[in-house]
Symmetry: C2
Subunit: 178 residues, 2 copies
């Protein structure tokens, strides 16, 4: 959800600058871990625990249309690692109701780690989630994963759609050959 459906990077920079009087830019944190990007006061965890942090996130560009398109061919689940920040549970639910009301509650999962999630594909920004996943993986570009390259990187939802278009072609080809 965060870093894939929701644009969390600008919000982290904005909050950090406000709370700690810093003047970080999005460009400066590329290639850094959360701890490196927001070093003062173990700030990342504190920011993510602030009321409203998740509720106020902007939608990732192109996410709404792309998810609608994927839902024509796939059963789409939103799987969010929300349990570390309990305040986020209701905020994330409300956020999804606002921006993705067409995703049914059956298809929403708030979890701790994602190791017991069994789907065919996973789109995620964190390698800790992608690395233990058994299906095919897409790594959504984020400041903290720019130096990692063992998953297929997508830099936008358009690139996600492009990837799935090729995947669907492949599936159709396999089906027609059998």
């Amino acid at each position: 959800m965060d870093g894939v459906l929701a644009s969390v990077e600008p919000q982290l920079v904005k909050y950090y600058n406000q709370v700690y009087g810093a003047s970080l830019t999005l460009e400066q944190i590329q290639g850094m871990s959360g701890a490196e990007a927001f070093p003062k006061d173990a700030a990342t965890r504190k920011m993510l625990n602030l009321p409203g942090f998740f509720r106020d996130l902007e939608v990732m560009e192109g996410a709404v249309d792309a998810v609608k398109k994927l839902m024509k061919h796939y059963e789409v689940y939103v799987v969010s690692a929300a349990m570390e920040f309990p305040l986020s549970l209701m905020e994330k639910y409300e956020w999804l109701q606002q921006y993705f009301p067409f995703i049914d509650w059956h298809n929403i999962v708030m979890c701790g780690d994602k190791s017991i999630i069994n789907t065919d594909y996973m789109i995620d920004d964190y390698c800790k989630n992608l690395d233990v996943f058994k299906g095919k993986t897409l790594m959504f570009h984020a400041y903290h994963n720019t130096t990692l390259d063992h998953h297929y990187r997508v830099r936008s939802w358009q690139e996600v759609l492009n990837w799935f278009e090729r995947e669907l072609d492949l599936e159709l080809k396999v089906t027609s050959e059998n």
Copy 2:
């Protein structure tokens, strides 16, 4: 969680009797669906949406000790179909913190349906969850499943432990033979 870790049956009867002036007993609802047991006013859904309903549930007898014992041999996850009742998200989290504080947040999942959950075992009271599960299943006895017999029925946490004791023996035997 409900009907397995948390004792939901007495709470449903108590709330129904209070709200609708009925005088149901636990014995009377055995073998009934939710709609049959609590017929007035589509009551089941309304009761589950009441603030406090989940927060005030009692722990299922023997659940705390049994989960602690299972955790010595297994990675135990709590997977709760909470998404249909968003109010329950925080209540269920707080309830777990109170009664099962030894279960780490990594191992808690609040979901819609449970079809994408991939573990080796599932203990659940609802066949809709057990029927689509790929691992081994234990059906925890509940008023709404008394007439179903296509999963192994456990009537208490002691019976769960007995089952896993045999399972561990079996695993140890297989391991020593290989």
